[in-house]
Symmetry: C5
Subunit: 357 residues, 5 copies
Amino acid sequence: MAYFSKHYHNPGTEPGTLVAKSDLGRPVTIHLIDYTEDHLEEVRLANAADCREYLERESKTWIQVNGQADPETLRNLGDLFDLHDLALEDVLNTGQRPKLELYDDQLFIIAAMPFYNGDKLDIVQISLFIGKNYLICLCPLDEDPFEPVRKRMRLANNRRFVTRDIDYLLYALLDLVTDSGFPVLEQFGYQLEEMETDLLENPNQRTLARIHGLKRELLVLRRVLWPQRELLTGLMRTEDPLIHANTQVYFRDCHDHSVQIIELLESFREMATSMLDIYLSSISQRTNETMRVLTIIATIFIPLTFVAGVYGMNFQNPDSPWAMPELGWYFGYPMAWGVMIAIAAGLLWFFKRRGWM
Amino acid sequence: MAYFSKHYHNPGTEPGTLVAKSDLGRPVTIHLIDYTEDHLEEVRLANAADCREYLERESKTWIQVNGQADPETLRNLGDLFDLHDLALEDVLNTGQRPKLELYDDQLFIIAAMPFYNGDKLDIVQISLFIGKNYLICLCPLDEDPFEPVRKRMRLANNRRFVTRDIDYLLYALLDLVTDSGFPVLEQFGYQLEEMETDLLENPNQRTLARIHGLKRELLVLRRVLWPQRELLTGLMRTEDPLIHANTQVYFRDCHDHSVQIIELLESFREMATSMLDIYLSSISQRTNETMRVLTIIATIFIPLTFVAGVYGMNFQNPDSPWAMPELGWYFGYPMAWGVMIAIAAGLLWFFKRRGWM
Amino acid sequence: MAYFSKHYHNPGTEPGTLVAKSDLGRPVTIHLIDYTEDHLEEVRLANAADCREYLERESKTWIQVNGQADPETLRNLGDLFDLHDLALEDVLNTGQRPKLELYDDQLFIIAAMPFYNGDKLDIVQISLFIGKNYLICLCPLDEDPFEPVRKRMRLANNRRFVTRDIDYLLYALLDLVTDSGFPVLEQFGYQLEEMETDLLENPNQRTLARIHGLKRELLVLRRVLWPQRELLTGLMRTEDPLIHANTQVYFRDCHDHSVQIIELLESFREMATSMLDIYLSSISQRTNETMRVLTIIATIFIPLTFVAGVYGMNFQNPDSPWAMPELGWYFGYPMAWGVMIAIAAGLLWFFKRRGWM
Amino acid sequence: MAYFSKHYHNPGTEPGTLVAKSDLGRPVTIHLIDYTEDHLEEVRLANAADCREYLERESKTWIQVNGQADPETLRNLGDLFDLHDLALEDVLNTGQRPKLELYDDQLFIIAAMPFYNGDKLDIVQISLFIGKNYLICLCPLDEDPFEPVRKRMRLANNRRFVTRDIDYLLYALLDLVTDSGFPVLEQFGYQLEEMETDLLENPNQRTLARIHGLKRELLVLRRVLWPQRELLTGLMRTEDPLIHANTQVYFRDCHDHSVQIIELLESFREMATSMLDIYLSSISQRTNETMRVLTIIATIFIPLTFVAGVYGMNFQNPDSPWAMPELGWYFGYPMAWGVMIAIAAGLLWFFKRRGWM
Amino acid sequence: MAYFSKHYHNPGTEPGTLVAKSDLGRPVTIHLIDYTEDHLEEVRLANAADCREYLERESKTWIQVNGQADPETLRNLGDLFDLHDLALEDVLNTGQRPKLELYDDQLFIIAAMPFYNGDKLDIVQISLFIGKNYLICLCPLDEDPFEPVRKRMRLANNRRFVTRDIDYLLYALLDLVTDSGFPVLEQFGYQLEEMETDLLENPNQRTLARIHGLKRELLVLRRVLWPQRELLTGLMRTEDPLIHANTQVYFRDCHDHSVQIIELLESFREMATSMLDIYLSSISQRTNETMRVLTIIATIFIPLTFVAGVYGMNFQNPDSPWAMPELGWYFGYPMAWGVMIAIAAGLLWFFKRRGWM
């Protein structure tokens, strides 16, 4: 459903209820990276409960959970990392608006990553929990969008990740999420350009449907990008000890991108609205042109046909000099043509003067 | 009446006046739950005055009054719980905007619960008074919308309600009220989708009426949801001792839902407005197509009819070589057809080139 | 004049100039109520200067001046109560925007009371001066709109007025002024509903004029209601000693009404704008339907008429087998009908398929 | 040029550059009033440098410079009164936005005075410098708009000016400038009313051009009035020692007028926009009516003409009973009329039922 | 591409990555001015690393880098002046939004300079780094837009630059960048005026495309001018020691210009939007006029043609008095003309009364 895509429990349900969705796909995959300045260890876990051993180490741990989260996994994670019931409910009921929640020694972040799935805009909810030395990232997609970050981490000479705290990893993930807006808007830009050409050259119902669809997608995107910006503002300004001052420079950069994406989006929205007006004007213009052709042809021939009709009448009274004497004149027929040509010429001159031809 | 549904006293009436409405339906039903950590007692009261005995106990008491409140009941409650005259007037004159009033040792809350009554949006005013160990909830509907909360309370293992203060009960009720927005918006979403299909495939006057009706409902809903959000912000931030810090996490969640509902609503409004433009464009497009058919047919046949008309003229002068000699030519008739076919072909070519066919 | 109804002095006039308007109607009537906890005295004064004796008493005094104020009366009041020149000018030049001015030991308030005068919206400027124990209220109408308040005061058992300070009287008057908005908006609501029906069923130029007129009235009303809300916010929050904390609860109620009126007004404005779009769409829809009828009829008969025209031609050459041999065929005439019926049927089928019939 | 009327130096020019404009008209006239409580002296100066002697006196001095300022005069004034280069540049490059600049012991004010020059809106930039005991006012018009203020000053009994400081004179001038908005808006109001009548009764291209022109003028006016309001807010609230508290009451009055003018302007803008919609609707309505007349006439006569055409065919085969036997029937002709009348009546009934007649 | 012109790295790229663009044009040119109160030295450097020697001097140094910056140059500058990685990335990825970043002892500024490149709006990103005694300005254009500033510096008597700190140079550059908006808006103003004339006199599809293009350019311009204003506000208010109080007067002037440009732009946008409405109205008006001509001609001649058609029928039964006896009447033919003239006159009278002629 295009307009309403939020999952919600029935009103009156106990807060923090975790119910498995009926359309659960493949089981989640858990990818864990544990790293210190000296080593980096990557493992795939079968079960969320297996994170426990890494939790007790001093090292930093990134737990990436891909795929539709099931209540079981969430409850396990919740118990291990002491996650709030309401937060877990938000992870399960995807379609939440981006936000930043400050818990006592934990941050809970919901971000929204837009991408083009074929020729359709999709927005995926990324849920992040960050504590002193762990970061849990849950993404309902089956394939992991954060592979580029993992690649950078694996580079032996990349000291940024290992020398900095876990908040730099948070930045790296959110930066990727934010920048995902650029290719999406680029795509929108291409579409706007195509529509614009269509509009002025060959407006039709399909163009209209496309503009409308684009407007809807822009609205959907906008609904998540504004709170995402607030989230980044929050991270940029927070005094929470989990976010260090020297990482905030990076969040500021990320925030700048977010602002720029929103500004582009807003101007795209305005152009899309303006295109609806142009569509209407183009159609009216075409109707006007069609009308003009009809009017010229009809207006010229209708009087001529009338003249021809007159001399097609059958008045005949041999005794009457009034019974269509023209029909018997020597130059009757050429005269009729003369009248008709004069009428046509006069009308053509009239249309020329009006600027219709 | 669709546009103005507020009850009000004549200007100049004494503040706090309680006048029975003429259309009083069934008498109110009073449902009381009294609970401590150890027990939970449910009774149905015949009269508001019977609450007195529970008021004096240490236990927490939830008094649910369903049905159109009569002045008598309100006055009784007012005397018992020391409710402000203006608050009681607001309870009686339903259609108030949601608000939070802080009295000395009492909160007065007006909330608005939207729901679909058949295929019509209805908004019911929920009035709440909360004191140290009581909560009074008045709902003008005959059937109790808060039954799901009561069910949760009755569950023996549900410690949340009994171990927490009365503000958690307030949260549970307001959460239900807020979340009622989701099914309503889902309904709106379905309607928008239907209209969209109609618009692009078969726009007609009925679609127009539906869009207009939807816009009106969105406006009505919006009028109550914005102040409702403010009310939740107030509860989330208040330092009133009746609302505890650990309940405010829950109000924050409730507030988040409220914001999300409003954002959806605003984008629905925008889409509805955009649909009006699309309707207009679709109609113009259809007019244009109709015009084009007319123009093609008329423009082709009018000149042909003229030619036929010409040779239907009766010029006859046996002496004149100018009296329609074509009529007597050997190939006169085929020639006339030739002229007509040439004209038709020329016009068809012209329309093709214009892209009209 | 509908668009500009403000009275103003020529630019460059001395501030505080009081000039009698040319269209002065009946002389003002002055109605004075003097009351303490023990007594209530009502008198009608011939002259503003007669207030002096009441001014010196301890009792509270309400001076109500009805009718177009003349410079003489204003100057008398100004001298007696030490009113500021600029304030008096504002009283005289009606059409001011509502405001609250805090002078040293006096408040000056301008409020706007909307009401329906026949079927036309009228807005009357109420000017109020309030001091320690007096309230002066000036209303340019000949009949006193505050009679309901006076009635309440006269009730022997109404202790509210007499036990409270003069600010409660101020509240009572402003409450009446504010609540006057409800019947006006109810009236607007009825009109919108009527227009809506008209629009969808029978849109015409008169409907257009009505929508336009309503929009103008909504704008005029809006122009006074927003500052009126600010005025009430001011009173609700002021720390001026003339307004007591326990009266501010009442001003808060009044402010709530004001906000609700404004919100209704704004949604009415939006609906009125939306109606203009619907009007346009309806007209286009009708044009489209008219066009379709014309197109169907014309498109069917124009080719038929052509066929008839062809067989009305007079080609005659007894020697030529090409001279309209059809005319002499045995089944020529039925064949012509056959051709015509086939054309008509084909076109009808075409229109059906297009969904035009 | 209607859209861009700002004077500016080429980008990269030295700040504070004073270049004579090419279209310098008449030389400036300098009118000086020097006054204390006891005397008032008026002189006309040939040269700006002649102000020096008055500068040294204790008395208050008002220097009014009318006409297009030349660089020479500005430099003289600048040297004498120690005016900032950037301020002088702003005086020369008229078309600045209104503003208040606080220098150390000087205020620099740019205000905008709208007026109707014939039937065209004109906005003139008034530049004011105010110091401890002098006020310099520069107005590029040749005739002095501040004559009314001067008249008031000359009145022997007008103690306001002489007993107060120079800031009261500033108020008097700005009050005149602000109030100039009222007659302009009154003029706009008249025009709106005229257009409204035109729109609903006889919409044509000229009305459209007028609405468009009015919108442009409203936008131009708006562009200066908003910053002018800010300027007055600044004066009303400033703690600069040059503006005394008892004059600020007057600036508050002036600010009120400014707000009222802006609110009127905004509602005029909204009405002008609404008029464009109404224009479009009126045109569509007229097209619809035209169409309906055409459709009725054409739809009635086209089938009739077809019937007439049928019986104008020349099928003749003496041997065939199928060769238009109707033509030979006794009641053939009346029957043809009967068919035609029946068709016409049926169509008329159809149109009536559709509500088209 | 008109809608999306931002350069960006793929999401997930390491922050601070500097990758050479594929379309690198000519190598950069570096123009260095080193000046104190006593001397001014200008050199062209081959390589960014050559700046080192000037860096160590006490004198102020302006390093102007023109042309598309290559990663090599940026890295050199970055090492020399200790520039932040993210800043360098922003310099490379042009199309950033204007901003002011405060680093420890450095300011990083991105500004946007609009100009007309032929008849197309272009916006070039100016990047500025300012430290205690150096200013680095990077401009991707091949030719240096700041030549006018350099000229002013070279003037022997121009003491402003040499006696003031490097922030005055910053002002001079930003002033030029800001004021570049004026010629651009002047150009827009001319175009609006042309379009307006077109619209009212001869609206066509080309006008529509122009309005649409202008709107897009206005949106693009707006997207950079709003943050540019914020940047100037930042400089005007900053307490950073690099910006001195006496230079802030100049930034205030610059900020004023920026505000004025934005206000003009916003009113241009509004006029452009209004023009779309006018276009639509004009087209509708023309359609209406075309329709009226068609309707008049068709409505007059269609009934006449019908009459002619009637008397062209061939009813013939010598025995029947009903077989078109009119054809044999003595005055039959004149009577037919009489009927036709009466019909035409009646219709003309009808059209006159309707105001259609």
